[in-house]
Symmetry: C2
Subunit: 154 residues, 2 copies
């Protein structure tokens, strides 16, 4: 059945981010949709951001496109150029290789939900705008290339 | 600006389907989001189905994943196994190579809207469940391989 039974999919707030970068995403609860849906050419997640939570550290992907659809509530999209409020029905696109770090912040009093899809090299690399961290398929690194201690699979 | 200004994107009901297969999609109005958003690894469309309209002929892709998020209104997802009503917030996944033809029908009295994303071989091939037609990057064909007369680019 192509319609996904969201309630039946595990909801998790797992992250591989090293301490203390994991703190702002502790209220990011998500369901991975691609494995359940049988999708192999894209990743897709259904995400609930609790009040105060971030979607990620502000980041970009070198070789993966990201596309986001806002479903409920309100979030603030933060990028180099400033801030934009996203409301239900809003769509946002983050092309591979554009080093304009982005993330969503839920500054409201209620949950917000969105779906995010990624395609390209889903085991690829990228960087973080605001912190001394980069990522690749191998894990998280300081900008000088020193690895962060491994935590758990993201 | 990653947030897409949907109103500024051309709304079209173009189709390359040969007559009479184009009739049920004449009330399918869509905006192509990937070119405007700079996305290269996926296709994405924002679609408005007028009452009575179909999203496509019932089809599958041999080598492209499709993923759909319902935004407003109500549509009936039709596939080999039967019918499923999709409502705002519902997600549906159509993996590459699964020959279970699918489409959406708007049987309601009001518009419905959804976003659909595709990734994989976006110039690839596939088939139609209910009609004597197949497709490839080259165009539309009868099941015996005879091409349909070319119309306009899809």
């Amino acid at each position: 059945m192509p319609r996904l039974d969201l309630e039946a999919i595990e909801l998790t707030n797992r992250t591989g981010y090293p301490d203390p970068f994991d703190q702002p995403v502790s209220g990011r609860w998500y369901r991975r949709l691609a494995p359940v849906g049988g999708l192999k050419h894209m990743g897709a997640s259904h995400v609930v951001l609790k009040p105060g939570a971030w979607s990620s550290q502000r980041h970009w992907h070198d070789d993966e496109d990201e596309f986001l659809v806002m479903l409920s509530g309100e979030a603030v999209l933060v990028e180099d150029d400033g801030e934009t409020v996203l409301r239900p029905g809003d769509c946002a696109a983050f092309p591979a290789g554009v080093k304009n770090g982005h993330h969503l912040q839920n500054r409201s009093e209620t949950d917000c939900t969105f779906v995010v899809v990624g395609a390209g090299n889903m085991d690829g690399s990228g960087g973080y705008t605001d912190i001394d961290m980069t990522f690749s398929g191998e894990g998280y690194f300081h900008r000088d290339g020193t690895p962060y201690p491994a935590r758990r699979p993201r």
